[in-house]
Amino acid sequence: MNDFVSLWSYLSATPLLWLTATIGAYLIAEGLAARLGNPPWANPVLLSVLLLSPVLVLTKTDYGTYFEGAQFIHFLLGPATVALALPLWDNRATIQKSVIPILCALIAGSTVAAGSAILLAQFFDLPFSVLLSLAPKSTTAPVALGISEAVGGIPTLTAVLVILTGIIGAITVTPLMNILSITDWQARGFAVGVAAHGIGTARAFKVNPIAGAYAGIAMALNALLTSLIVPILLKWLT
């Protein structure tokens, strides 16, 4: 028993343990989601968080210790954001074809996504730090974390809110559009891409390839626009 304790205290102090645990949890989560048929509510990120958090709490590991290992994965968010330029570049012909609807819908949708979050947070009397963390919720996680940090929010809270937003968008988009009998796949895909980033985009690809392509364009463009408008909206609305 003592051996185990000393082994644990050695392992838990090296980055290796939590780095491996993060990748392991994600692989389990991905397998579980695949077995369930990848429904929008069984999101691998959410499942990974649900697997890892109790382990950290039970082993009394603080987030700082965990992050020393996990930071190697977290760091890749930066270059991954830069890499979003490539799908945007590959889709330039599609964007040019309907540039006016794309730009108008992007500006309107992005403003409402961030603006309504700020106004609703005030209406529901949420703490100011939570409001700041909510504002970039519709944009893709690496960008949202950067915005949250830049405006003084809590990046780790933003991460959770971004994932929840993606899941809500992915679950509601199809019933919502069907109720309104909207059959334009470009518009449907673009809407879920603006409001629910990568998780919404993944959902759109599963429903229709055109919707998926437009969702991907919307997500990438929204990453650019949200970082410009969130600071402005915060100044105006709060």
């Binding site: 945007l88 006016i100 519709s138």
Partner: protein, 118 residues
């Protein structure tokens, strides 16, 4: 692979420099994205050499959110006291944003179509 990684990090670095140096509220990696887009516009053949590595990175994008997501254990207080209101804000705001986006997209598309046919 190494060249692509170097280029991505280089774009991010210039982006961070510009964002901090000019005091912009935009995250450095987002500026890095714009810089890479500009590089692709200047040298289109760059795209095919970047594609293999960027596709691998983007295919595993979800994994990269996990460390930040686990940060939820530091925010359990906020989440446990405000979860109902948070869920309400997220749901209303997400649906509202989808409605406005889809309406604007369809309206401008019809307008463009009518203008082109006149």
């Amino acid at each position: 692979m190494l060249r692509t990684l170097g280029l991505l990090l280089g774009c991010q670095l210039i982006g961070e420099f510009a964002a901090r140096g000019l005091g912009l509220p935009i995250p450095g990696p987002v500026l890095g994205l714009v810089i890479l887009l500009a590089a692709l516009a200047l040298r289109p053949p760059l795209a095919s050499s970047l594609r293999p590595t960027t596709q691998v990175i983007l295919a595993h994008l979800s994994l990269m959110f996990v460390p930040a997501g686990v940060g939820v254990i530091g925010n359990l207080e906020v989440l446990s006291s405000d979860w109902a209101r948070l869920l309400m804000v997220l749901t209303l705001s997400t649906i509202l944003s989808m409605l406005v986006t889809v309406a604007t997209f369809i309206a401008t598309k019809r307008l463009m179509y009518r203008l082109q046919n006149e």
